[in-house]
Every structure is written in C-alpha cells, then in structure tokens.
Amino acid sequence: MKEEIIIAGFGGQGVLSMGKILAYSGIMQNLEVTWMPSYGPEMRGGTANVTVILSDKKISSPILTTYDTVIALNQQSLDKFESRVKPGGLLIYDPNGITHLPTRKDITVCSIAAVDVAAELGSAKVYNMVVLGALLQMKPIVEMENVTKGLMKSIPERYHNLIPMNEAAIEKGKQSIQILNRI
C-alpha cells in the first residue's frame, strides 16, 4: 500500500496541519510517512501546499511529480495540480471561488463544499477536518480510530477538549462529498 497525496490551498486554510494529522494517523497505523511542506514566504492568504506519503514500505523520494490524490482548495491550486493527478487517480476540490472547473475524464473528480459545511458546524477552523473527512470517504487509508490518535498527537493537550468537534467535522465531511466523475 502506498498513497501519494498533495494538499494545496491558501495559507490559513489549515493545509499543513491537515497533512500533519493525516501523517500522524499513518504513524498510529504503523505506516511509514513523509510530510514535505512548501516552506518559505507563504503566509495567510498566500499559497501553501504539503505532500504527504503513506506507505507500508520505506519511502524513497519525498519529492513527486504526479500524485495518487490531489486536494485543491483554491483556483490556483486546481489549475496547477489537476494535470499532476495520475491517470485513474483522485481529485478533490472545494468549489468555493472556483470559476474554471476541472476537465479531466480519466480521473475521479469530487467536490467538497467545505466552507459551507464548516459554517454549518459553526467554526471556520474545522474547515480542514471537513476536507480530511472527504478524503477518507473516498480513500479510507487510515482507520478512524487512528485518526483520533493522530489528532491527539498533533493537537496540544490544552486543546484536547476540541477533539470531538474535529471528529464531528470529519464525519460531516465524509457525508458531504459529491462525486462528479467516477472512473
């Protein structure tokens, strides 16, 4: 088993922390993991992305050109990474602010209206967990029990009271994903 994922969006959307929780969940499931961020002058409002690899074998290159799964959370990321999904792979995007829709027919395309779902849940901060739920609905690469453990490891202890809220957001994300093109 090997899953190569890039999560790309605006700084402030929680792209890096979503990747960290996913990677920690992988460790809890006894997988090998790498988490490679775009680092540098990114800031709130700028672009940010992180490549996460989960594998049951040692991971060689943490730098990739194509991905099993692309999660694009803004137009720039969708434009940049749609072509980098492996044939037969998965593209998940948030339709908020998207004017040019994805066009590929050789991949599975899903949308998750995570901004709306997070607003319904009453906290914009759980946005990234809604997206994580959507991913896990399509690809259950880590078990929910290990995601909970991953959350506990990633979130400082003083905020552990917020874990149930994050789990609820993941659950809501699972229910809210829409499949637009299935192959």
């Binding site: 993991v33 790498t34 988490w35 961020p37 540098g40 290159s61 730098i63």
Partner: protein
C-alpha cells in the same frame, strides 16, 4: 519500545541534542533551520539537563561561544544555514587548528549570497574541502532522513571527540523541513566535570598543581612547530579515511550503472533506480554518509562492474569531482543537478541518465 514521534529534521536535531548530553547550543536564527533553536527554547533543557541554550547576536559570536565551550571539554554545538555558515568559517578554521571538538549543523539553502531559502547542496566544496583557511578538514556527516538527523548528533560528537576536530552535519532544506517518524532511543546524560577532566586531559578546566598548564591555541609562529601541528592534523585525517568512512548502497550488487548521491538527493535517486529497474536497466546507488572521509575505496570497488557513474546533486557539480577521482577515468562520469532551490525529480534524473548513457 522506542517512542515514535512525527517531527521535522530540524526538531530532531534539537531533541537529540537534549537527550544525548549536549552541554550548550549557541545560535542565530536563519531559514530553513530556525526550528532547531525554536525547539530548544520550547523544550527548556536548562530546567532539566542543565544544557545552555543561547541566542547569540550573530553567527560570528555563536561560533566563538562554541570555541569557548569546546576549550573546556564541553559538548557544544551551533546550527545555521549557508550564509550564516560562511560567517562561521573563520571560527571553524581556528577550531580545526586548535584541535577542538564541536558540532556545526548546516541546513543548506540555495546560494550564492543570500540566495534563496529553498534547499540546496551548493556548500559541498565549502564544508567538505575547507571553508576557512588552511589545511584542515571537518568530519562531515550527511543525513537523508529525520531519523538520521536525530542519530547523527550523537555520532558526530563521538567522532569530534575521537579526533578532536569540528564535526559538521551537512543537511539541506528538504531534510530540515520534512516531517517523518523518528524513534527516540535511550538517552545519554551530560558528562560530569570529573568525567570531562578524565576523558579530555587537554581541556582548560583549571590547572592542578600536579600537571603542566593546558594551552589551547591555533597560533604557532615558529614554522617547525606549525608544521608539526599540520602533520598531526593530516595524520588524523588519514586515520579517519581508514576507520570512519560511512556509506550505504541500494541495488549495487549487480548494478551496471552507478549513481552517487547524498542527503535528500539519495532518497530521490532511489526512486529513479526503481524506475530504471522496471525498465530492465540495472542501476544502483551508492550514498556517501560521511562526505569527509569520502567512500573513495567503496566507489573504486564497484568500478569493474559498471559502464558509467553519475553524480546527482542540488549544485552545479561539486561532489562529482570526488566521484571522478575515485573512478579515475576508468568509466565515464556524468552529472545532473538543479540550482537555485529547485529540486530534481526522479523523472528528470531518469531522463538525464538516459541521455548521458545514450539509451532509448
């Protein structure tokens, strides 16, 4: 069972320093290695092990604080990235001359000048061949994972004290910034003053009546004395070449084509080797773990079985010189690299390999 933590390479350096008995860290922030000091400050080791963590006013001050600590036989270290390391090179040369052990971590970014904060390997010449003035070498370790970053802190200090010389962990922005699973092993306490006095009889820890004064200096104006120092240094470097070369191989047993790559590039080239093997091409990788001493003999041993060798680096071609010296004209030696913070992908290396070897 060892605890497994998801952490950045930079964080691993800091956690390892605290858990392996380091006495002091002196540094100045610079991307992409600022998490080293950030982690140390957050962990507050001065409250637990008594380790000193100090943000100096500059890199020049940091390396001279390291010099001072090392004179007393303490395990002291600093970390920086390329432009900051350039400022430390005078201190490194002085420490090599004065035969002082220390650890310097360089998380390399693209240069020259202020360059870019993205990863690079353009400091190979500087760190492996010199940097400061004079005939000196540092032990240079090249990590390729966050676990290596953790493990190499202790290894580097062992070698630095074995040879009384500066040791450098030459990492890059990828290895510093990437998070991976790190196993936290058993820990070493800081050495007591008595232990330091016993194991470092040269240290300036206060003269006792029953021994002569210890003097630590890199200055010897008399040529014969200075030459003797140099010959002693050179003898140490030859001993390192005999005893402390570290390297690893991937698929070299039956390899007809050899890649040589270190640090993050060794990880990326492994994927290229897999791709070539899927295409029926017998490629293999030798990864130097110590860049000085360089695994010259280990490359030479592979020469009879290979048709070519290729060095892959995030530079314009620096380590390739050492690969050429090892191969010594027996087979063609090629090079591929990217510059300015760009990273070669497995596919790019695959294409460059085919072009160099005239393969379809």
């Amino acid at each position: 069972m060892a605890e497994k933590i998801l952490m950045k390479g930079n964080e691993a350096i800091a956690c390892s320093a605290i858990r392996n008995g380091v006495d002091g860290y002196f540094g100045y922030p610079i991307t992409p290695q600022s998490e080293v000091m950030e982690t140390l400050m957050a962990e507050k080791p001065w409250e637990t092990t008594g380790m000193v963590v100090l943000q100096a006013e500059s890199e020049t001050a940091s390396i001279n604080m390291v010099y001072g600590g090392a004179c007393c036989g303490k395990k002291v270290m600093t970390s920086s990235s390329s432009p900051g390391i350039s400022l430390m090179c005078e201190g490194l040369s002085y420490m090599a001359g004065a035969e002082l052990p220390c650890l310097v971590v360089n998380v390399v970014r693209g240069g020259p000048g202020l360059g870019t904060i993205q990863p690079g390997q353009g400091d190979y010449y500087q760190i492996v061949k010199g940097g400061g003035h004079g005939d000196y070498r540092c032990v240079v370790l090249s990590p390729a994972s966050a676990q290596d970053m953790y493990d190499f802190v202790d290894k580097a200090f062992d070698l630095a004290f074995k040879y009384r010389c500066p040791a450098v962990i030459l990492a890059d922005g990828v290895i510093g910034q990437m998070m991976e699973k790190v196993e936290i092993h058993a820990t070493k306490p800081r050495r007591t003053n008595e232990e330091i006095e016993k194991t470092c009889p040269w240290a300036t820890v206060g003269k006792r009546a029953d021994r002569p004064r210890n003097i630590i200096t890199s200055l010897a104006l008399e040529s014969d004395v200075q030459e003797a120092t140099n010959l002693r240094l050179q003898a140490k470097y030859r001993k390192m070449e005999e005893e402390d070369v570290l390297y690893s191989t991937y698929m070299t047993e039956d390899a007809e084509y050899l890649f040589v790559a270190y640090g993050c590039m060794s990880r990326i080239v492994e994927t290229t080797v897999d791709m070539l093997r899927e295409n029926g091409i017998k490629a293999g990788l030798l990864r130097p773990i110590t860049l000085f001493p360089f695994p010259t003999k280990q490359i030479q041993a592979l020469v009879p079985q290979i048709k070519s060798a290729m060095s892959i680096e995030l530079s314009a071609g620096q380590m390739v010189d050492d690969v050429r010296l090892a191969v010594n004209g027996a087979v063609p030696v090629g090079f591929y690299g990217r510059l300015g913070g760009n990273i070669c992908t497995p596919q790019e290396i695959f294409d460059a390999f085919k072009k160099f070897n005239n393969l379809q």
